[in-house]
Each structure stands twice: as structure tokens, then as C-alpha cells.
Symmetry: C2
Subunit: 318 residues, 2 copies
């Protein structure tokens, strides 16, 4: 038996098993999905969602871990959603389970969840926003969403954050790669990690040039900062947090934050609606109504478009 109100109450109290259970209920097609989502609705909205994306090898997980430490020092509750097959957090792990993010494994103020369920229902684009919502409703002040900036769906997830951080590292040809993947466009904050390596300044300069950061902007426009870090040693991480907080303040002053969240909610609704309608139509395979329409098409009495119209209106009862 699943007692959703009890699970939600336990999650609010900070019990990791309840959080884990709720995420499992929303990322699959559980019969309790709708009940959970309805219960979470009034509780969500407090978390600041930060997306971190970049090519494999730039140090996303190390940076994420360092950011968790920084936010914990500030007393914030932190959730991590790792949508990254190359992440050391991958493998269905949640705090206290199989977590390898050892610094934080015993910290009750940190929740870690990995997600690698590609191709499942509507895919990651469908499941990630729901998992974020659980972490949000469970009382996380900050949710860090770590994605690999290679696939379209990963980029989409990153772009659904309140603030998007794009990570690069020197000497990886990241400039070109990132431009190809379209992830350069989504950054609110840029991080050149492994800045103790040769070429860090060149990477930052190239980035500055590609983004036109040296050019004049309208007053009040956000000028994405480029922060150099050595995440493995914690260097520059406080500057990243500072840049994030500045971006958040800038968004709040200009109602950009609310607008981004509305856009995110709208996309989420759209994805759910398309998924629901598609599965309703797929459910009609073998159904008498569809067979009858197909029969009339083969007989030349009906064309496929008229048949599709009939199907859609029959389906929706209009």
C-alpha cells in the first residue's frame, strides 16, 4: 500500500526514504502519479533550480559536489538530480543507498538522485521536471540538475532551470563542441573548470568572444559572467555561488524568474498532454472503432484525414 499523504509528510520532515519513494512514483507511470503530483503542487515553488551542463570530462560532478558543499555551509538544503550517464552518481542511487558522492552521503540536508531512464514514456524531458518537483516540495532550497550537454533532451532539461550554468574545460575544443550542441546559448553563468591547466585563459577569451560579452548591452540586460574554477580543490566555487545568487536577484528584480517558471510549467503541461493523447490513440490499436475506419478507407469510402478526425473526436468525446 502506498500512503501518499504520509509519504509527503515524511518527505517534508526530511526523511530521505520518503523522498526516494516519491521520486520513484513520479518518474515511472505509477497509478499514484497523479495523486502525488496533486499533493505536491501547493508545496513546490520554493526551490531555486540550477542546471549544470557541459561535455563529458569538464568536471560536472566535481563542480556539483563542490557547489553542494558551498550551499551546505550556507545552511541550505540541497537536492541533486544527476541526469548524466557518465556521472558517478548514476545507477539509481539516492542518499544512503549507493551514493558515491562521499562528502555528502551522511548529510541529512542533501538529497541525491540519478536518472538515466532514457526512452521511458516521454523520456527525460517528461520525468526530470517531476523529480525536480518532488525535491522542491520536500523542502530543498536549491536543486542542482546535472546534465550532459550532448543530447537534445539534456539541453532541454538544462534550459528549464531557473539559472543555467554551462561548464567548459581548457584544451577540449569545447568552444566548438558547445556551439554545435547549442548549449552556449543557454548559459546564464559560464564556468571554465580545471583552470589550473594550460589554455584556461584562452578558453575564457574564446568564450568571451563567441558570446559577444565584450560588446555593449542595454542597461539592465544580464551579462553572463565567466568564472574560473578548480572544482577538485574548491577554488572559485564561492564565486560561482555568488554569480548564481546575483543572477537570481537580477531575475527576481525584473520578474524574469516568474516568467521562466511559467514557461517551464507550460512546457511541462504540453509534454504531459502530448504523451497522454498519444497513448490514448495507441490504446486504440485493435479497437473496433479504428478497424471500422480502416475498413472504410480500404473500401474507398473515406480518406485517412477524415478518418483521423473521426478518431480524434470519438476519442475526446467532442
Amino acid at each position: 500500500m502506498v500512503d501518499v499523504p504520509q509519504l509527503v509528510a515524511q518527505a517534508r520532515e526530511g526523511r530521505p526514504r520518503a523522498v526516494a519513494r516519491l521520486i520513484s512514483l513520479v518518474e515511472g507511470a505509477s497509478p499514484h502519479l497523479r495523486e502525488v503530483m496533486a499533493a505536491l503542487a501547493p508545496l513546490a515553488g520554493g526551490a531555486y533550480v540550477v542546471g549544470l551542463t557541459g561535455s563529458p570530462g569538464v568536471g560536472k560532478s566535481t563542480t556539483t559536489s563542490a557547489l553542494v558543499s558551498a550551499y551546505r555551509r550556507m545552511g541550505r538544503r540541497v537536492g541533486v538530480l544527476a541526469v548524466d550517464p557518465s556521472s558517478p552518481f548514476s545507477g539509481g542511487a539516492l542518499l544512503g543507498d549507493r551514493v558515491r558522492m562521499s562528502d555528502h552521503a551522511s548529510d541529512p540536508g542533501v538529497y541525491i538522485r540519478s536518472m538515466a531512464t532514457r526512452g521511458h514514456l516521454g523520456g527525460l524531458a517528461w520525468a526530470a521536471p517531476q523529480a525536480i518537483r518532488v525535491l522542491d516540495a520536500a523542502g530543498c532550497d536549491v536543486v542542482l540538475v546535472e546534465t550532459v550537454g550532448v543530447g537534445q533532451s539534456e539541453v532541454e532539461i538544462a534550459s528549464q532551470a531557473d539559472t543555467s550554468v554551462v561548464l567548459l574545460a581548457p584544451g577540449m575544443g569545447d568552444g566548438i563542441q558547445a556551439a554545435k550542441a547549442g548549449i552556449l546559448e543557454i548559459g546564464d553563468v559560464y564556468v571554465v573548470n580545471k583552470a589550473d591547466r594550460d589554455g584556461a585563459d584562452a578558453t575564457a577569451r574564446e568564450l568571451n568572444h563567441m558570446l559577444g560579452l565584450g560588446e555593449a548591452r542595454a542597461p539592465g540586460d544580464w551579462r553572463p559572467p565567466i568564472v574560473k574554477t578548480v572544482a577538485a580543490r574548491g577554488e572559485g566555487v564561492d564565486e560561482v555561488v555568488e554569480a548564481l545568487e546575483k543572477h537570481r536577484a537580477w531575475m527576481e528584480e525584473r520578474s524574469v524568474l516568474a516568467a521562466r517558471r511559467r514557461a517551464r510549467a507550460a512546457r511541462e503541461v504540453e509534454t504531459i498532454a502530448v504523451t497522454a493523447l498519444r497513448s490514448r490513440i495507441e490504446d486504440l490499436r485493435g479497437d473496433q472503432r479504428l478497424s471500422a475506419l480502416a475498413e472504410r478507407i480500404v473500401a474507398g469510402e473515406l480518406d485517412p484525414y477524415a478518418a483521423a478526425d473521426t478518431l480524434v473526436s470519438g476519442l475526446t468525446g467532442s
Copy 2:
């Protein structure tokens, strides 16, 4: 101005420009799409649709061309739909236009159309059946659909034919490749082309083994024949036509043909319905209804599932 009834009448008279125009109207999202499809419905159903698929290099286009010649000698009107980026017919060509299928370029009983519009609306799976319907309604007795057996959508198109021909060639590791691509399962007739090359017998034997053709079958079951050809010299092509005609007769005797066509029509309707519903939802981007729902989600008054339900019912008027 587009005069659909006139175009249809001209296509029925065998005028290639009218056929070309109609296909252009149905493969894109023309405002006349529905009118054309409605006009074609009572005229279609006479054509025998043969799918030809195989890896690049097995000689699909040469075989297609040889089959066209064979059917023309039998006095049949033939349509060719080349859904194959590697085909020499590719590039938007239709008879009398930029056709390089030189044997047939001046033959008024042959229509050739290429299709390479990937990612367009519902993609090939959406556009190909409609183009087939035009060729069918225009009075083609046989429609040959040439696809590369590599992508899922190409395999889907091939599997929507009345009869599917799978082509292989010796020494290409086709056995394994074909099995991987899942195209082996769809063959009603198998052709080992380039049979003058070394390894043709081995390829045929391997195929025979993989398909279990040596094993006992229930009486009345179709046993897919393996035909060896040298299409470039026309060798074995009459045997392919014979195998096709046998398969057609077998399907007609057992009402398999009508069942396949009903299944094809049902899939076509499903694809059109999903595409239509998705685009109706996408049309709501920026719409006040969706914005209002998103606003309520951000405010915590509504969860995304309840919002999606509202959206779907508002959309369909139920």
C-alpha cells in the same frame, strides 16, 4: 489557384505533371491536402504496392528499374517511389523532370518520384503513404517503393507494402546487417542480387538457414522464396515478378491482402491523428489558456497533470 478536381482528372488521364503536382500537395502541409485526399479516396485501392528494401550497395535501384521494365512488358502502368537518399532517383525528380532512370524517362506509363524529406512534419512515415495513394489513384497498376533498410521509418514504410522484397548481395555481411536492422522479418520475397559474384550461393544458404525456410510449415503458410538475380543484366527479374504475382495470389486467396491494407490504413490514421493532436497542442504556445494554467501551476494552485487534463479537454471541446 489549385483546381483539385481538374488535377485529379488529369492525373487519371495519365498526365505526369498533374501527378507530380498532387504528390507535392500531399507530401507537404498544403492547405489543399485534405481536399486532395478526399478526392483520391474513391479512386485508390487498385494498385499492388511492392516494397523493396536492402542495405546500400545491394542494387536496389537497378533491381527497381529492371522490375519496371518487366511490368511494362506486361502492359502495366508503374509508379516508383524512391525513399532512399542514395538512390539515383533522389532529388525531387519526377518523370520528364530530372529523372536519371533513363530507360523509362520517355515512357508515359511510368511515374517516378523520389522522397527525401526527412523530419518534415510526421516524417517519411507520414508522407510516403500519401504519395503512394496519389500514384494508386492516378491509375498505376503497380507501385514500387524503394527504401534503404537502415532506418526505423524506412523499415516501417517497407512493411506497409502489400508485398515486401528484401534485397541482399553476396559478400557484404548482409545477413548480419539485415538481422540487426530487423528487415529480415519483413520479407515476403528475398532477392540475392549480383548473383554472378562469388558467395551468392553461400548468401542464399545462410539466408535460407536464418529464415528457417528448410523447416516444415503449416499447409497454406507462405514460404518466402529466395530468387537469385543479376539485375544489371536483367537476369532473374522475370522470376522475381513471378514470385511477386504468386505472393499476391496467395494473399488474395486468404484475404491476407485486405487485412494488410486495413492494418496499413489503421496505422496511417493513427499517424495522422497523433500529428494533428501534437500540432494542436503546439499551437497553444503563447496562448492565453496555456499561460493561465502555467500561472496557476507556478502559484501552487494546480499540478501539471490536472492542467494537462484541462488543456486537452479545452482543446477538444469535451
